[in-house]
Amino acid sequence: MNKITVHCTVNHKPVSVEIEPNKRLLDMLRVNLGLTSVKEGCSEGECGACTVIYNGEPVTSCCILAGQAEGADIITLEGVSVDGKPDVVQQAFIESGAIQCGFCIPGMILTAEALLMKNPHPTMEQIKEAMSGNLCRCTGYKKIEEAVALAASRM
């Protein structure tokens, strides 16, 4: 298959990636760019594990073709930490004990980051609603929501 070249910004750096046109953004990030924090859970837009911040919005990267990302600004978990240290949201997840197996956590943190970028002081209801597209099998969500609230209190 003829490859296409996708130019976009990933984690604050411009990249250009040669990729088959039938590949998803998820594949481009994980396979071509080695950003394995982006998890593949359901492959059908149901679980949120593959969430990335795409032009400021949390989106499921399993549902976007790589070619659609031309010109996009994409942030994965690797682009969130500050000088290799956890940022305020990551730190809040650690302190709240919000992480068990961790598989849902990159998507959870990016969804929370996207929320707090737009609304630094959300109510608990707004937190719940923003996080409701991300499934977690381990935590029962309570500590995840507490972590987002803790991060918000420190913004």
Binding site: Q100, C101, S132, G133, C138, K143
Partner: protein, 335 residues
């Protein structure tokens, strides 16, 4: 019509394999810089067995949890850990870590006793210091002790294992000792049921668990919260649909096999109940499966209580609820 109901689920649960030997082992070495290598077979898939192993080692050795490095599950280097199942790793691997640390402390005790000129049995290892329980002015720091160990050419290494004290069960009548320790729990759950649509809203849940000593209290809470999410889902939304002819799973996607989102959760109040004197490391017991178990009968009973009927099967889907309510009304009208 919306109706509210409350249900209670209680359980006791045996920790470890039933009536079978199921040992686990650990290797430990305290290094000259006071960092510690702990190697266990227990596979940590998020339940926190590695944090548990670090906490048990730190407490036994009198060091800080930051000093402990845990290598886990790699069968090329780790000793037998047995399965991460039966809610057994805190109890069994935890005891193995404690035993391995106790062995490694043999040379530490001998060396500290020589340096401080006190009997070995008087020594206390706590907060990175070693002192005599009889005369607390006789004390040294861990780095000093490790210096004395190096000077004498001694190494602090230990291997230990633990096998719960159970017996094989008599096949004739199943008598015997199936488990060494048991966890206990009670879950109380409140629901609102819409009798027209069969929809169940989970309102509030209090789940109290006797876990012995909670080694990592936050993780104990997290396990109870996660277990409640699974247990309630088991009753109201989750069903693996198997095609009886082909045995293929007909709903292998998250759009057809429904697990709860954060919006579906009740308010969850987890309670860790401490109890003392049992055989686990510092009295700790297992929580993995107990976290989930009592929320299942509690949810069933709560839905039943809301409608005034008794359900005997899971799952209870909206269609089951609408039918149960209609059947009840019909029976009442006849009677």
């Amino acid at each position: 019509m919306k109706r509210r109901g409350t249900g209670v689920g209680c359980m006791f649960y045996g920790i470890g394999n039933t009536g079978l030997p199921n040992p686990a082992a650990a290797f430990v070495e305290v290094l000259p810089d006071t960092s510690v290598n702990v190697i266990v077979g227990a596979a940590d898939i998020g339940q926190g067995s590695s944090t548990m192993a670090a906490a048990v080692a730190a407490e036994t050795l009198g060091l800080a949890i930051e000093n402990i490095h845990v290598t886990w599950a790699d069968t090329q280097v780790a000793p037998e850990g047995g399965a991460t199942s039966a809610s057994r790793q805190t109890f069994i691997t935890g005891n193995a870590v404690k035993n391995a640390c106790t062995q490694a402390m043999g040379e530490l005790r001998r060396t500290a006793a020589e340096k401080l000129e006190v009997p070995e049995e008087d020594l206390v290892f706590r907060n990175r210091e070693i002192y005599s329980s009889k005369d607390e002015t006789k004390r040294m720091t861990y780095p000093e002790l490790m210096g004395a160990m190096s000077y004498r050419g001694r190494l602090a290494v230990g291997a230990g294992y633990y096998n719960p004290k159970t017996t094989y069960l008599n096949p004739a009548d199943m008598s015997g000792v199936p488990y060494e320790v048991y966890s206990y729990a009670t879950c109380i759950l409140e629901v609102e049921v819409d009798t027209d649509t069969g929809e169940v809203t989970l309102l509030k849940c209090v789940s109290a668990h006797d876990v012995g000593t909670p080694i990592n209290p936050k993780m104990v809470e997290g396990q109870i919260e996660g277990g409640t999410a699974m247990g309630t889902g088991f009753v109201i939304s989750e069903k693996i649909d198997v095609d009886p002819k082909t045995l293929a799973i007909k709903n292998p996607t998250l759009s057809k096999y429904i697990i709860g989102t954060n919006m579906d959760m009740p308010e969850i109040y987890p309670i860790a109940v401490s109890s003392e004197g049992e055989a686990g490391p510092f009295g700790a017991k297992g929580l993995g499966e107990p976290a989930l178990i009592p929320s299942i009968p509690a949810t069933m009973a709560a839905i039943g209580n809301a409608l005034g009927v008794t359900f005997t099967k899971t799952p209870i889907f909206p269609a089951d609820i609408v039918k149960a309510w209609k059947d009840k009304q019909a029976a009442e009208n006849q009677g």
